[in-house]
Symmetry: C2
Subunit: 116 residues, 2 copies
């Protein structure tokens, strides 16, 4: 599925905004699972879990493959990398800004000591 | 605003799932701004921007203060930290898992060489 980074980030963050879907990602981090297994683990109907897995798959966070009548889910390859990279980029810039503010506050404190 | 971590993560990721809101966070990373300035930058109505800022504020990603008739927006203190920590935790576990898989594949390759 080809989509631009903006749409990819929209989809990834929207997919992560639900506790059950985050739970599914944690579960799949421990091993692949069928939709039936996931539905049981989270006490949901098959239909409900299919919907959640669909949202995760659309966002590239999960991939699924059907063998016979069983659809197995596993973690996607890099959907989370984009989201992580975006957050990480912002944190770096902001931390630099907060550090700069800290230095200004520190300088003001020193000045106060000298003046006072 | 006191809310449990699950609700906090839901709100933070939902807030990040919109390109304009991510743009507002990037903009505020470069300096505080009024809602009017943000609305102009993103070519939106005041009402539209107020809505976006409200979602960011609810998620703890932005804080606002009204002085006279101007509401100034700045980055929130730690809303993004929770979201970053969640993603980072998952990535570490998954990378370990992928590394373990790599080792299995490598071992199988070696075995094939010896057997073949």
């Amino acid at each position: 599925m080809v989509q631009c980074l903006t749409a990819q980030l929209d989809a990834a963050f929207a997919a992560l905004s639900d506790a059950t879907r985050r739970g599914v990602l944690e579960q799949l981090g421990r091993g692949d699972a069928s939709i039936t297994e996931l539905a049981e683990t989270f006490g949901m109907t098959l239909t409900g879990m299919k919907k959640h897995v669909g949202v995760l798959e659309q966002a590239g966070l999960v991939s699924t493959a059907k063998v016979g009548r069983v659809r197995t889910c596993r973690l996607g390859d890099d959907g989370l990398e984009e989201a992580a990279a975006w957050i990480e980029g912002r944190r770096q810039i902001w931390n630099e800004r907060f550090d700069a503010l800290d230095r200004v506050v520190e300088a003001l404190k020193q000045k106060e000591k000298i003046d006072g």
